[in-house]
């Protein structure tokens, strides 16, 4: 398949490109930018005038819910939703049932993903058996089975010796460990950020220290074990500094922030909207600003949706009794554009954080539009307005905190390895 994407604003942060030009795709790869290669004959010509053409987005921690929770979502439904929203790679977490702590479970994911012509699906293996924080998972086998890293997701490993050994073993296996750090004891009773709003609402709070204490503990063990660690979903401004200091000290650490923590604060929880019940919690305005600044300064590498689709029942209860997590794939681009609009960081920085940066976290090349690279491309209309109704969400999870809101920005086309996997432009040969 040969494709010419004509006249779009090409934003390719890795190559510091931001200009109106054409993109040529041939045999799954970027053939050229600007001028057509000699003898190029486009089978598909896509008119991208007024649109942005950029590297496809990467999600580092989606709950795909399969196997075990197919009533919430499936690999097929969410891989398609990812493609519809500009994602070319989506990494799923191992907190399925059974847990992905053996290659056999992971193989199921691979097979399902292969059947869906949508975003590329990768997975994180479990760091400990059953995510219970007691026995190390067979990380070497998981790696041979294709996992891109290991994680214990949000379940804190309370026993520091187990954590230290897990990190050391992951280092031996050459695997990156994805850590969502929260102190078990300070976090276990809370359901939102501890502050004036939690006090007024009478909801048990999770203090900011729950995160900084855990990150500091984890970093001390990273220093001892030499493992490459990626800190997921930072929620507090203080954490940004802890990560930056660790980097300054030369430790192999990276970090990301979930889109929710850049868009909402604890004050938004005022109406007890269960779709704002997320882990880590939405923190103060100061924290949100600090996280935005962290992205701007490059202290936070990536921005991810951390998509957690739920069925209606999971959220049909008073706030504190609902399952945590929000469906975020569909509003990701509009939310990212809004952050840029508000001046948290500029548009190329936003695209860098959503595309090239997560590729680097995964230890991969890609995420750029250099000739020869796999053609993973997102084409979006930065001015298209739409309303986030349940029907308008591509994800099976309708638990979006943006429900009912008017959003600006819509993905029009997604290309994975040179194949059009989402086409909102009705492209013609």
């Amino acid at each position: 398949m040969t494709i010419r994407i004509r006249g779009g604003r090409v934003i390719d942060p890795a190559n510091e490109r931001d200009e109106i030009c054409d993109v040529f795709v041939d045999h799954g790869r970027i053939a050229a930018i600007g001028r057509a290669p000699r003898g190029f004959n486009a089978e598909w010509v896509i008119d991208a005038a007024g649109l942005v053409v950029c590297p496809g987005f990467v999600e580092l921690g989606a709950r795909m819910r399969e196997p075990g929770f197919e009533h919430k979502a499936t690999i097929a439904s969410e891989a398609r939703a990812a493609a519809a929203n500009g994602f070319t790679t989506i990494v799923c977490t191992p907190d399925t049932q059974p847990v992905m702590d053996t290659p056999a479970v992971a193989e199921h994911v691979n097979q399902r993903a292969a059947r869906t012509r949508a975003a590329r699906v990768r997975y994180l293996g479990a760091l400990t058996v059953g995510l219970e924080g007691k026995v190390l998972a067979e990380m070497q086998a998981l790696k041979d089975g294709g996992c891109v890293g290991v994680t214990n997701v949000e379940r804190a490993i309370v026993d520091t010796t187990v954590l230290r050994n897990a990190l050391a073993y992951a280092a031996t296996a050459g695997l990156t460990v994805f850590l969502q750090s929260e102190d078990h004891w300070l976090g276990r009773q809370g359901a939102m950020h501890e502050g004036a709003t939690s006090t007024r609402l009478g909801v048990a709070g999770i203090p900011g220290a729950a995160e900084t204490i855990a990150i500091q503990r984890d970093i001390a063990l990273v220093a001892e074990t030499g493992v490459t660690a990626h800190f997921c979903r930072l929620s507090s401004a203080a954490s940004v500094k802890v990560i930056a200091d660790a980097r300054k000290a030369g430790l192999p650490v990276s970090a990301d922030v979930g889109i929710m923590n850049l868009c909402f604060t604890d004050e938004d929880v005022d109406g007890y909207d269960a779709n704002l019940h997320v882990r880590p919690p939405l923190r103060s305005e100061r924290d949100r600003a600090g996280l935005g600044l962290g992205v701007k300064r490059g202290q936070i590498d990536a921005i991810c949706p951390y998509h957690e689709p739920h069925d209606a029942d999971a959220k049909a209860a008073p706030f504190m009794l609902t399952e945590a997590g929000a469906s975020t794939l569909d509003a990701f681009l509009p939310a990212l554009l809004e952050c840029a609009e508000r001046g948290l960081f500029d548009l190329p920085a936003a695209i860098r954080a959503a595309s090239v940066a997560p590729h680097r976290v995964l230890g991969q090349t890609g995420g750029d539009l250099s000739p020869g690279q796999p053609a993973d491309i997102c084409v979006f209309n930065p001015r298209a307005e739409w309303t986030a109704s349940a029907a308008a969400l591509a994800s099976a999870g309708k638990n979006s905190p943006w429900l009912g809101r008017k959003l600006t920005g819509k993905v029009m086309m997604t290309i994975v390895d040179g194949r059009i996997v989402h086409d909102g432009l009705d492209a013609r040969r």
């Binding site: 501890e194 502050g195 004036a196 939690s198 006090t199 007024r200 609402l201 009478g202 909801v203 048990a204 709070g205 203090p207 938004d268 005022d270 109406g271 007890y272 909207d273 029942d313 049909a316 209860a317 008073p318 706030f319 504190m320 009794l321």
Partner: protein
């Protein structure tokens, strides 16, 4: 997004009574005035008015309660409503029925009002968002969030004894962190114009940034109670010791218990209140609880009139002069 919006109808009248936060001074005053009109009903030989005749009120209690449930029960009966008392804690919830399904079933039985107590903050607002439009919800206490009828009956008691809110100093003492009474109380007193509301307790029992609610924080008992016109003591639960918030009940009484000697630091004519049930010798000395300045039992009596007022208002049959 504030829940105040969902408790008012299009004309600004009370549709549900979920919390004090966000309500106007006029509305709270109206509740107190209506309660004044209902108060004499309890002194009559026939303690009934026909305002809610033919209506069915369900007391939906997900958490144990004696005082609150009984006074809601009495209030509804004095308004001539039919009353159904449901202790969900020991029925549906254990059978695995979801909250939403319990509500559907009760709606199917054509009930008109739910009085709800639930151990989770925000439960009353959630239930109000789920019920059919003709049903009113009254919050009988949700987690640590609000207990609005308790706050109104306390304000009713204060107004009867002190006449004006504008020159009062009110001290709320004890476990503010876990108290829905304290939160509703703070909102109500501030809205009604009390210039100084204090919260008094150790740092482990005063929630972070509570100053944002307009109160002054005191950690020393003697300073917190000094010259107070109203002293509201909060109940201390045994669990607080187990979760390492306090060393012991003994030490608590030593530092924060209200004794006759300490009460002398308050204004001469100070009144002592407590939402009950009291722990004698833990937060309050028996001599004070049973003493002349204590109005604890008046609070209970007033609770019936206040709940009658609230129930009649949310049912759209606001009390008029002829009701009493």
């Amino acid at each position: 997004m504030r829940q105040a919006n969902i408790q008012l109808d299009a004309e600004g009248r009370l549709k549900h009574f979920l919390g004090i936060e966000g309500l106007s001074r006029d509305l709270l005053t109206q509740i107190l005035d209506n309660a004044e009109r209902f108060a004499p009903v309890g002194d009559r030989a026939v303690k009934k008015v026909p305002l809610l005749r033919g209506k069915t009120v369900v007391n939906l209690f997900f958490e144990p309660s004696t005082r609150t449930r009984t006074t809601f029960d009495l209030a509804a009966k004095r308004l001539s409503a039919d009353v159904l008392n449901l202790n969900i804690e020991s029925s549906s919830a254990k059978k695995g029925e979801s909250l939403a399904d319990t509500l559907r079933n009760l709606e199917a039985m054509q009930c008109d009002m739910f009085v709800v107590r639930h151990q989770t903050s925000g439960a009353a607002a959630y239930i109000a968002s789920q019920v059919a439009p003709h049903i009113s919800v009254v919050n009988g206490g949700d987690g640590r969030h609000e207990h609005p009828t308790q706050a109104m009956l306390d304000c009713f008691t204060i107004r009867r004894l002190k006449k004006r809110f504008e020159d009062l100093t009110v001290a709320i003492v004890g476990d503010v962190a876990h108290s829905r009474v304290a939160r509703s109380e703070i909102h109500a007193l501030k809205i009604l114009g009390v210039p100084e509301v204090r919260v008094v307790g150790p740092r482990t029992l005063i929630p972070p940034q509570i100053e944002a609610m307009g109160v002054k924080v005191f950690h020393r008992f003697d300073e917190g109670i000094a010259d107070a016109d109203v002293v509201i003591m909060l109940r201390l639960q045994q669990e607080r010791m187990q979760s390492a918030l306090l060393p012991s009940a003994h030490e608590y009484f030593r530092v924060y218990g209200l004794t006759e000697k300490r009460l002398k630091l308050a204004a001469k004519d100070a009144i002592v209140m407590h939402p009950g049930p009291i722990n004698r010798g833990v937060e309050i000395d028996s001599a004070v609880a049973d003493g002349l300045q204590s109005v604890i039992l008046q609070q209970v009596t007033n609770g019936i009139a206040v709940r009658m007022a609230v129930m009649s208002m949310v049912m759209g049959t606001q009390a008029v002069g002829s009701a009493a």
